[in-house]
């Protein structure tokens, strides 16, 4: 009886593993066919049916860079407030959790109303960057706060005993020490942001025509995720299909590359967790 359960669990695990393997194999096998240098370098032609995805890649990069630049000061401020302004801790955490849980399409909708309509920015790459920044700020802040908590106390104690004020500690101690974990967390969040479609759907993206932005208002950009979204609705045109798979493979690669530092440190962190050294009966 007990063995049956165990076998059952193993069976389910095998299923999960098979699923994951199948997922990646399909992506690689189908994607690699269309994956060549010209695909990466050339701009789109023929409404996505030929040419490459140059401006889609650039557009996605612009979006996540602006998101990074905007989210960083905000996340740092949150972290600062968390450390320094203790009465505000509870509302801060609650706010962050609340923001974190909101579906991305709601952000997209509100951003559309605010940037496109109210501010009359039209479709703008900056609006996309801002909304992505707002989306990644909560998880980035959590990451920073946890990293801060994980700092060895000996540093804090030393600096406190030296009589440094909080601000001095902040800039001279915390921020430099947080740099590595921060960058890890940042790239993790940027990886997530690179794959997002819903928030930028109404606000920053078009399918054709946008190159590099020349201003803020009325300057949409292309994005790899939106490109896949649009093309997947043509999913039965054979020309589109091969490009679709290649774009999908590309976006997964970009996300994985961005998240590599996180996985590298994740591996180290894992060593702490217990695995089944003791074999129980059955």
């Amino acid at each position: 009886m007990a063995i049956a359960f165990h076998r059952f669990c193993q069976f389910l695990l095998i299923f999960v593993v098979a699923l994951a393997l199948a997922l990646f194999s399909i992506l690689i096998i189908k994607g690699i066919a269309g994956f060549n240098l010209s695909f990466l370098i050339e701009p789109m032609a023929n409404a996505g049916l030929s040419g490459g995805v140059r401006y889609q890649i650039l557009g996605s990069l612009i979006l996540i860079s602006s998101a990074a630049l905007i989210a960083t000061p905000i996340a740092l401020s949150f972290c600062y407030c968390f450390q320094n302004l203790s009465p505000f801790r509870r509302p801060l955490i609650t706010l962050l959790h609340a923001l974190n849980s909101i579906p991305s399409i709601v952000f997209g909708f509100l951003a559309f109303l605010f940037f496109v309509i109210y501010l009359s920015w039209g479709k703008s790459w900056l609006a996309g960057g801002i909304i992505l920044a707002i989306m990644i700020t909560p998880s980035l802040s959590f990451f920073l706060i946890d990293s801060l908590k994980a700092l060895p106390t000996k540093y804090t104690e030393t600096t406190k005993s030296l009589g440094l004020s909080f601000d001095q500690r902040w800039w001279k101690l915390y921020v430099p020490l947080l740099l590595k974990p921060y960058l890890t967390g940042l790239f993790l969040s940027l990886g997530r942001a690179a794959g997002e479609t819903a928030p930028i759907l109404f606000v920053a993206c078009v399918f054709y025509g946008a190159g590099l932005p020349t201003g803020i208002k009325d300057n949409p950009i292309l994005s790899l995720s939106y490109h896949i979204f649009q093309l997947s609705q043509e999913a039965y045109d054979p020309q589109a299909v091969s490009r679709l798979w290649a774009s999908a493979l590309l976006i997964v690669l970009i996300v994985l590359v961005l998240q590599t530092p996180y996985y590298y440190f994740w591996n180290k962190k894992r060593k702490g967790s217990q695995h089944a050294k003791l074999k129980l009966t059955d």
């Binding site: 999960v16 990646f24 505000f88 909101i102 794959g195 479609t197 089944a276």
Partner: protein, 314 residues
């Protein structure tokens, strides 16, 4: 939520704060406060805006917004029952499908003796979580849809688009997240009690059901709630495979027909072209804003409950 948090800041704290911290004023602190304040201000402002604007459609529809399924912007009626039902059913179904795999699969992994295999599987599943939702949507449209159509057409599935397809896709999407959470949970508990269980001669299965599962239940449930929230909020992947058919209820053709065939959810409605079209019609816009508000309330509500729950048990 925020209100109860704010309530805990009693007046004396605030006064003491300003009194003793006056000397600690600095540019950094000022900037940080400004940023924090503006985020709060913006969030509150957005929330108030949503509540205010939703009034228009509520005045027109009243409770039938929630009770009727007659959403038609051309006919100026906005009964969103089918939308709520669609969101809830797909999310719940996704969770139900995913739960055994994530839960028991994670347990099997926890019991794996080989460190290397365990690491590879963990890494693999974690990598799966990085895949963007639009790629899952693509896989859904190109692979899942025809596959399910083949299997279920004798049962009445017409196009391969539908609630079941969406739920399956969602369950695949939340699987990695739930799997990792459960694994972490089991790992923690296992670390604590494994030796004792070993010395008592417990089998792995008995260990699971008598120790790990009961102790881990709060965390398991909160993970499920997180997964449910994620599934309910997913837009792009679901948009491509749900069929986008408005106002369908199980009462019309039975549950099998309802699940196998197309439907609509709150997020897919918001992800469609109605956002652009609604621009000139205040009532239409208000209806969509009310939908967004409901989504926010649902997700924030779930996360607050989770927060209270995990703080309580920790």
């Amino acid at each position: 939520m925020a209100i109860s948090g704010l309530a805990k800041i009693k007046t004396k704290h605030v006064l003491a704060f300003f009194a003793e911290h006056r000397s600690r004023a600095s540019l950094t602190r000022l900037i940080a406060l400004i940023v924090f304040g503006s985020v709060i201000f913006l969030s509150l402002g957005a929330f108030i805006f949503l509540v205010w604007k939703s009034g228009i459609v509520l005045r027109q529809e009243g409770p039938s917004f929630f009770l009727e399924a007659n959403w038609s912007f051309r006919g100026n009626s906005y009964g969103a029952k089918a939308l709520f039902l669609g969101s809830m059913i797909t999310a719940f179904l996704a969770l139900m499908i995913c739960a055994p795999f994530s839960l028991f699969g994670a347990w099997a992994l926890q019991n794996l003796r080989s460190e290397k295999t365990r690491f590879s599987i963990e890494a693999l599943v974690t990598l799966m979580a990085s895949v963007p939702s639009v790629v899952y949507g693509l896989l859904g449209i190109l692979l899942l849809r025809p596959f399910l159509l083949q299997i279920f057409s004798p049962f009445g599935m017409e196009t391969g688009d539908g609630l079941l397809t969406a739920s399956l896709l969602l369950s695949i999407m939340i699987l990695p997240m739930l799997f990792s959470l459960h694994l972490e949970n089991f790992s923690k508990i296992s670390k604590k009690y494994r030796e004792q269980a070993f010395s008592l001669g417990l089998s792995r299965t008995k260990f699971f059901w008598s120790v790990v599962f009961p102790l881990g239940l709060p965390a398991i449930l909160s993970s499920f709630a997180l997964g449910l929230g994620r599934a309910a909020g997913e837009t792009v992947a679901v948009f491509l495979v749900i069929g986008r058919l408005d106002n369908k209820l199980p009462s019309e053709g039975g549950w099998i027909d309802y699940l196998l065939n197309a439907g609509q959810s709150m997020t897919t409605k918001l992800g469609g072209p109605e956002i652009f079209i609604s621009h000139q019609s205040p009532t239409h816009e208000s209806a969509l804003l009310l939908l967004a508000l409901c989504l926010i309330l649902m997700s924030v509500g779930t996360s607050s409950i989770l927060l209270k729950f995990s703080k309580g048990e920790a």
